[in-house]
Symmetry: C2
Subunit: 644 residues, 2 copies
């Protein structure tokens, strides 16, 4: 058997290893370390290295994206040496970044050329004739004449501006700067509307906002170039009145509740704009257009519409396709006459965050059978192609946001966000948001942990913790059987962090609801899940979940890795597209109008599909061939050798 030279960078050591050795083994034989939290099963992706030379055969590329592969990444534990090689061990930080951000690495840029004429806001200077005793036309008529000459006859001048034009026109010596809404996307032939008039030059800016139940995101957009000047996200200030939409709806029904919730989300937006003001210099008073997406409840709360009926059968919202309003009507802290375009939703539980997501992800323009998933506080699913779309919402509950789980928490500082459990020892390794000691487990951590416990045999297909394993980590706890992921001494709370049987049941119900959604949608249109050509995952939650582990617990359908794309916050991205172009806005309206909404609570097949999905990964294991394979290997046979 031939030996091959493996040069290791940046240490610049060279070792010789026989054909068939793993790159991980070569690294270890040089006395170097490389993290393998999963025990060398190629599950965690933490041993990614750059490989240069033809002598490497990638046995598995799971956890590596096409971009990763193009960049030269390989998993040290899954790459066999078959010739001379140069292996660069990247800084751990770089691997982290790849894992966390690479799959969402999409520079904020629209996939179409920017045409300022399609966004509706114009700013320019006017030159008026000065009045005299002989030419004593009133100020407004004089302004209207100049606007007409500029191509905007019959422009509407709101009363608020009328109150100012007298002084502004004289201050600027009859040459004011004006900002005009030249047209509204849905009334292209309507008259223009004056938004502002000032003596000083104006550079108009717009804002795209996605109001999530948990997180509010905003992009500040330069209307001259269409570029995103800055983006920011913040927890929705309504959270203290309930984690999920149902709690918010209940709170809105209390005396003063609706107005309190409205004022909270306005406060959050104000905070975001203030932060962006400091960062980009854009004064919120110069924001002349806002385009906003959000789930239907969030939009109701923003607009001050009572959301009570959203919660009660037959689940009817006040409005799915709201008309634009003025910022001052909803007390949004931008220019009071700015037009606020609340994007169109489909139904009480499929809002404009989803339609904007569909626009952003390209589902509505593709011929491929596409599944779009946005798992935020709720799980919304769209299945379709450019010709048809069908959507449903799954009451996943907030388990994936860390609620309803004893040690659950949101993905903030101290949350365990990814877990690897060693196949032989059942000892865990984890990654904590922000580093440091853990405080609890967030959604992606829960998925990761459950998957690891399942594939390593700590829990069985019914979600039961196997108390007879030879490890102190499984035990009978206060809340029943549990697995201890961190001992008190390792945590910042000074208490053990564990996942209990009750937690597992909650997670099973959440994932079952979502998977049942996929099944029912597919059945309703007569396609099979395995025929889905791409799965596009949006939502802030989707940014962090590990698709492989999500498949292992049966949350996502078992499709080849390369069919999944993680798009990050597609809601705010689609909102940005709609802000930039009336064409995109019209497309969005068509999406909202044409999408078929399936009300799961009115669907007879949903309950059966849900029950079948309560197992790990599913009652019908044939639906998850890749998981069946791992599970057989890990649990059904002897542990694999601990190299890699």
């Amino acid at each position: 058997m031939a030996n091959h030279k493996v040069t290791l960078l940046p240490a610049n050591l060279t070792v010789e290893v026989p054909t068939g050795a793993l790159v991980a083994e070569a690294i270890q034989s040089a006395g170097l370390e490389i993290g393998q939290p999963c025990g060398g099963q190629g599950r965690c992706g933490r041993c990614a290295v750059f490989v240069d030379g033809d002598g490497a055969r990638r046995r598995s590329t799971i956890r590596l994206s096409t971009d990763d592969l193009e960049a030269g990444f390989a998993l040290a534990c899954q790459t066999v040496v078959e010739g001379d090689l140069t292996v660069t061990i990247p800084e751990q930080e770089r691997v982290e970044r790849r894992l966390v951000t690479d799959k969402t690495a999409r520079s904020i840029e629209a996939p179409f050329p920017y045409d300022p004429d399609l966004q509706g806001i114009r700013a320019f200077r006017l030159y008026l004739a000065e009045p005299s005793l002989q030419d004593n036309k009133d100020d407004l008529a004089r302004l209207e004449t100049a606007l007409a000459a500029a191509g905007y006859p019959g422009a509407d001048v709101p009363l608020d501006l009328m109150r100012r034009i007298g002084s502004v026109l004289r201050e600027c010596e009859w040459s004011p700067w004006v900002v005009l809404e030249s047209q509204v996307w849905n009334r292209p032939r309507g008259p223009a509307r004056l938004i502002d008039i000032q003596a000083d030059p104006i550079e108009p800016v717009a804002v795209a906002i996605d109001i999530g139940t948990t997180t509010v995101s905003a992009y500040v957009v330069d209307l001259a170039s269409g570029e995103v000047l800055g983006s920011a996200a913040e927890y929705n200030g309504q959270i203290q009145f309930g984690e999920d939409v149902i709690s918010r709806i209940i709170y809105a029904g209390r005396n003063g509740g609706l107005s309190e919730l409205g004022s909270r989300v306005r406060g959050t937006i104000a905070e975001l704009l203030d932060r962006l003001h400091k960062r980009t210099g854009v004064d919120p008073a110069h924001i002349y257009k806002a385009t906003i997406a959000g789930n239907t409840t969030m939009m109701h709360l923003l607009l001050g519409l009572p959301p009570a009926t959203i919660r009660m059968a037959p689940y009817i919202p006040t409005v799915n396709l709201p008309a634009p309003v003025l910022a001052q009507q909803i007390e949004l802290g931008i220019h009071p006459l700015a037009s606020v375009d609340c994007l169109p939703g489909v139904a009480s539980y499929v809002g404009s965050d989803i339609t904007a997501g569909v626009l952003a992800c390209g589902l509505s323009e593709t011929e491929e059978l596409t599944l779009f998933i946005d798992v935020g506080t709720n799980g919304e699913i769209v299945l379709g192609t450019r010709d048809w779309q069908v959507a449903c919402a799954c009451s996943a509950g907030p388990a994936f946001e860390g609620a309803g789980v004893v040690h659950g928490m949101r993905a903030t500082q101290g949350a365990i966000e990814e877990v690897w459990v060693h196949t032989g020892t059942f000892e865990p390794t984890w990654r904590v948001v922000g580093g440091g000691t853990p405080r609890g487990i967030c959604g992606s951590g829960l998925i990761s942990l459950l998957a690891e416990l399942f594939v390593t045999g700590v829990v069985d297909r019914g979600g039961n913790v196997k108390l007879d394993l030879d490890t102190p980590r499984v035990r009978q706890g206060e809340h029943g059987p549990e697995y201890v992921i961190a001992w008190a001494a390792e945590t910042s709370t000074g208490k053990d962090i564990a996942l209990t049987k009750v937690d597992i049941d909650n997670l099973l119900r959440a994932k079952a609801a979502i998977y049942a959604g996929f099944s029912v949608l597919a059945t309703s249109v007569g396609v099979r899940l395995e025929d889905v050509q791409q799965v596009l995952v949006g939502g802030s939650f989707g940014k962090y979940i590990n698709v492989e582990k999500a498949i292992q617990i049966g949350l996502l359908p078992d499709l080849p890795w390369d069919r999944f794309k993680f798009l990050g916050n597609t809601a705010v991205l689609g909102t940005y597209y709609a802000l930039l172009s009336h064409h995109e806005r019209e497309r969005l309206q068509r999406i909202a109008r044409s999408m078929t909404y399936l009300e799961l609570s009115a669907d007879n097949t949903f309950y059966d599909a849900f029950t079948a999905a309560l197992f790990l990964p599913h009652t019908e294991i044939v639906r998850f061939p890749s998981v069946a394979g791992i599970w057989d290997r890990e649990v059904g046979s002897a542990p694999a050798r601990e190299t890699g």
Copy 2:
């Protein structure tokens, strides 16, 4: 000489008098009394009686209108007995009423048939399909479908109503009453707008308002029939911040002044609507349309537009032709979504009270050369026919409102409103507003008094009081020469009420400004004042002035009595017409757009015309042949015999 029987009713006495005796003499010979404050010169009209029989020859019918003559009125002092007669002496109250109200007796009725389709407001009931899990369209879409079926596709549903539709639709079991603005007069093809939605039936009402500098008037109008349900007038609550528009403009420039003035006039309107609510049962919350006229400054103050530039050359207002606003935008206390249509004016000093007046008086539809005068706090004049109109404003000042005159007051309780001075004794008789003892003299009283003093020779053509007359009423007072109209013992103030030389000079300037306006307007279009075929007098002031006396002082041009028509508040009347019909509203817009405004301060001939008019009645006495006649008779010759 034959004797004739004169039967006097209601006393039922019969006397015999010779041919040629006056009816007044017959009454006196029966021992009955009839008031002749003017001393029997046929000037005061107070001795009006009903005459039945052919034996009466009316020597003069001055002070009697065509209606009066048709009703059988004759002046006892000017009617010669030439045959048997029956004379009915009416109750004094009836004569008073005739004098005060007859000339304005115009029942509030539009001179065109009412077509509800032309006023733009509709109320009706809708029947919506109830939602279900199978039909889960949102509330708004359901409402829009029903509105489209009713003939209003694409109707705009304001956010304020969106906030209510969920609960209203369920309360009324999907059959709500709606109020719709089906069209706006100037955008007939625009979409309809929902104004209200309720579970209970709605009977829509509108209001026509004239905001005068001194008085605010309102008509509440039933939109089903077009009928005026009630009318009311009240002093403008802004008065305490200045009697005239200039003072108001100055006050508006002070910190908080503009908003204070706006809030005052809204307060006055609220008070009027409250009074009308009590009287007619019309809740202001059910007023779905308001049409408002007023001078340009009043409209600026209502709309919250700074009026400063109105006062400074070149006298440019912010707006002459305001677009409709919503009641809530100006905090008008009617339905917040009601459309408020502020009628179009022409220039800083010719506002919509004048254009509405022109609409109401018919000037814009007649072939006759017509002079329209509205003497309120200012004097505005329009000369024209249906083919052309030219207008100007005269800074008459507030003298005719009782300001700038020592004992001047507004026409309220205790104001002397009409005066007769006896030709022989120079003793006055007066009529007081509300009866009782006098407190001061109002505008019509001042005109009346000055005219009487002039024709009886107490003042000369230069306005000087003749101190050498044999009466204690003329004297050198504190403010120079004066005429005492009421002794301290007769007044409610316990002080003499007098008209001083200074007062007279103020009145002369006021009347000269107005007459100069007539002259300049006529000259500017090349017509002569004597060619004017009708003089239409509007304004609350015009309601009470005695045209004959106004001619005598040279305030009105010397034209035959029957060419004058007193129309009362033409501003509110024209506003009412514009409210009732989009056709009238369009006509009003045409009037405002086509009227030529003459800025007197920019006219070289104005000062000369003004100076020439500072005499009584005018420097060129030939312009006032009728006055020259009286003046000759009264002053130039011996006093007439004191019968009558």
